[in-house]
């Protein structure tokens, strides 16, 4: 049975539709990332599951039981807040013990479980400190174990890494992942950072304007995006649109795109092409799956150069060039080519 089932969930704030008929499933022990831009409804979904907001329509089921009408303190889910929301008047120990005390766990057991939880994230020595005496990374870990110490089956995480320095973010991400495996709880993490979602999640659900755009394992979403939105949001793919010619090739932006599987002639089709799947060719471009253009701009990324190549019809393609080789001069003509497998037809 699914750990969490969301059916037709809708919520509006005034005239703004935060969620618009969302369906989603979270499997037991799964790390699911909710990925979307601001206003996509991803935080609203967390707040509805936690019980801080009431849905206008739809159902939320936790292990098959409808959560409707249950106030937040009766819902067997825990939430980690983006601001961490640590109680400033309580010590680290008391912050972590708060949930256990509300449950009426015996004093000795509380002390033991809090100590174990703090040890799990290497904070056993800091139990007596107040939250404001901790660093940002330490606070993040206190917030995490405070939510986990009650051993919830489902943990909701609202942008858990957003407030950390870039250097700390990756390491903390690994810790988060390890903690999730260790506790076996289902994690639902809201993030706007596609790299974070790709790196941490078992599955990613991409939300667009309050609806589910696509849901699947990271590699699947990255390699086979279903819609333009997913293609652009994950890895900023190039999207080319054109009509399928009589021979089955798509004619878009002045190029002929030959897909691995033929398409019906006359169909209008959008195709995603990842920047790193495009190669720079010596000499003239091939007749199909290639293009000639002019190098417009270059940005150094450390591991690659991100090049903007303008095609004759004005379309700009993003092309990732290996950092090892010197890139062509700005304004020089370049020939591009790609494999048929790099082309992903999009549904919408």
């Amino acid at each position: 049975m699914a750990l969490l089932t969301v059916q037709g969930l809708a919520k509006r704030f005034g005239v703004a539709r935060a969620l618009d008929g969302l369906d989603l499933e979270v499997r037991p022990g799964e790390f699911l990332a909710l990925l979307g831009g601001s206003g996509s409804g991803k935080s609203t979904l967390l707040r509805l599951v936690a019980g801080f907001e009431q849905p206008d329509a739809g159902r939320i089921l936790l292990e098959g039981a409808d959560l409707a009408g249950l106030p937040p303190h009766r819902r067997p889910v825990s939430m980690m807040f983006q601001s961490y929301a640590l109680f400033p008047h309580l010590s680290v120990f008391d912050n972590v013990a708060y949930g256990l005390r509300r449950e009426g766990v015996a004093r000795a057991e509380t002390a033991q479980r809090v100590a174990e939880a703090l040890a799990m994230v290497g904070l056993e020595a800091l139990g007596g400190r107040k939250p404001q005496q901790l660093s940002g990374g330490q606070r993040q870990r206190v917030a995490l174990v405070r939510a986990l110490v009650k051993r919830p089956r489902l943990l909701l995480l609202d942008e858990p890494l957003a407030a950390l320095d870039a250097g700390l973010r990756e390491r903390t991400g690994f810790e988060l992942r390890a903690l999730q495996r260790r506790t076996g709880a289902g994690f639902v993490m809201v993030t706007h950072d596609q790299a974070e979602a790709l790196a941490l999640a078992d599955r990613i659900a991409v939300l667009e304007a309050g609806r589910l755009a696509q849901c699947g394992p990271p590699a699947e979403l990255y390699e086979r995006p279903a819609t333009r939105f997913v293609a652009r949001f994950l890895g900023a793919a190039n999207v080319l649109e054109g009509r399928v010619a009589a021979d089955g090739a798509v004619e878009a932006a002045g190029c002929r795109l030959l897909l691995p599987h033929g398409r019906a002639p006359g169909e209008i089709l959008a195709v995603a092409l990842r920047p790193e799947r495009i190669r720079l060719l010596p000499g003239a471009p091939p007749a199909a799956n290639g293009a000639a253009g002019v190098l417009r701009d270059l940005a150094y990324r450390g591991d690659a150069w991100m090049a903007l190549v303008a095609l004759p019809d004005g379309t700009e393609l993003r092309v990732a060039l290996p950092a090892g080789a010197a890139p062509p001069e700005l304004g020089s003509p370049v020939a591009l080519g790609w494999a048929a497998e790099a082309l992903v037809p999009l549904a919408g």
Binding site: A50, G51, F52, P71, P72, H73, R75, V77, S78, M79, F81, S83, A85, L86, F87, P88, H89, Y98, G99, R102, E103, R146, A147, K150
Partner: protein
């Protein structure tokens, strides 16, 4: 140099309107009462050179006569009860205002301040009209076969008037603090299993204690020196510092004693004022 220039106006203001009057008050307190206008002999005279001709007699009287000590204690007690009552009433009001939808908050706060838009004395007059033996309240009680009760010139009337006058001072700091509070903390507490009452007791209330202390002191400090309300509504035996001071100054024309009383009140209120400042710095 620039610093001095910026600091000069407030320093001048403090010197002219706080330090100088306080110095004069101190001089009068150590003067000897005597006939004339003003009714005291300046403690520093001139007879070919500066001559000290003051006395500490009024300070001695102040300390020796239990009448004054009692006035101080009564004043502090009255101020304490007033501040406590105001706090008890103001907290739920402030919580309600802070919990209202944002467009309603400012109108609600203005309603709290509404009494300030009418004169203070007419409002006390209204209380007298309500509470006196033949007043509205007794009229209604009489219609129900009760009374007439002695309501005016009682502790009840005194505290009604005091709370009525000072309540806004307690509501304002509490409402601002509660409006600024981080609601995520309360959501986190609820998420961890705390019901509404436990959330209030373990998160909202403890975090609002500095604001509650501010509210208490904002009422307590001015209430300790209050003169008009005890005079117009209070029982005759409620001889508070404000009334005693007024009597010494205007009726007995004993300016040195009145000045001594004023200084003593200031000294008594200094610790709570300092406490208030520390709370303000922390909040």
């Amino acid at each position: 140099m620039r610093r001095l220039f910026i600091l000069l106006p407030p320093m001048l203001w403090l010197l002219l309107l706080v330090a100088a009057p306080l110095g004069i008050l101190g001089l009068i307190a150590f003067a000897e009462a005597g006939p004339g206008v003003p009714p005291f002999i300046p403690p520093l005279g001139w007879a070919g050179g500066p001559v000290w001709q003051g006395s500490s007699e009024s300070i001695g009287t102040l300390l020796a006569d239990p009448y004054y000590l009692e006035a101080f204690l009564r004043s502090l007690l009255t101020a304490f009860v007033t501040a406590a009552l105001c706090l008890l009433l103001a907290y739920p009001m402030a919580l309600g205002i802070a919990g209202a939808r944002p467009p309603w908050r400012i109108p609600l706060l203005l309603l709290v301040l509404l009494p300030f838009w009418t004169g203070f004395l007419p409002r006390l007059g209204a209380w007298i009209g309500l509470l006196r033996d033949g007043g509205w309240v007794n009229g209604m009680l009489g219609a129900m076969g009760i009374g007439p009760l002695r309501l005016l010139y009682s502790d009840l009337a005194l505290y009604l008037g005091m709370v009525h006058a000072y309540l806004p001072f307690a509501v304002l700091p509490l409402a601002t603090a509660l409006m600024r509070r981080d609601l995520a903390l309360e959501e986190a507490a609820a998420d961890l299993g705390a019901g509404p009452w436990v959330v209030f007791r373990s998160v909202t209330l403890p975090l609002s204690l500095p604001a509650a202390a501010s509210a208490f002191l904002l009422v307590f400090i001015p209430a300790a020196g209050e003169f008009v309300i005890p005079e117009l509504l209070g029982p005759p035996e409620a001889q508070l510092v404000g009334r005693v001071l007024w009597g010494e100054f205007f009726q007995n024309r004993d300016w040195p004693l009145a000045a001594g009383l004023a200084l003593a009140l200031l000294v008594l209120l200094l610790p709570p004022i300092l406490l208030f400042q520390r709370l303000g710095r922390r909040g």
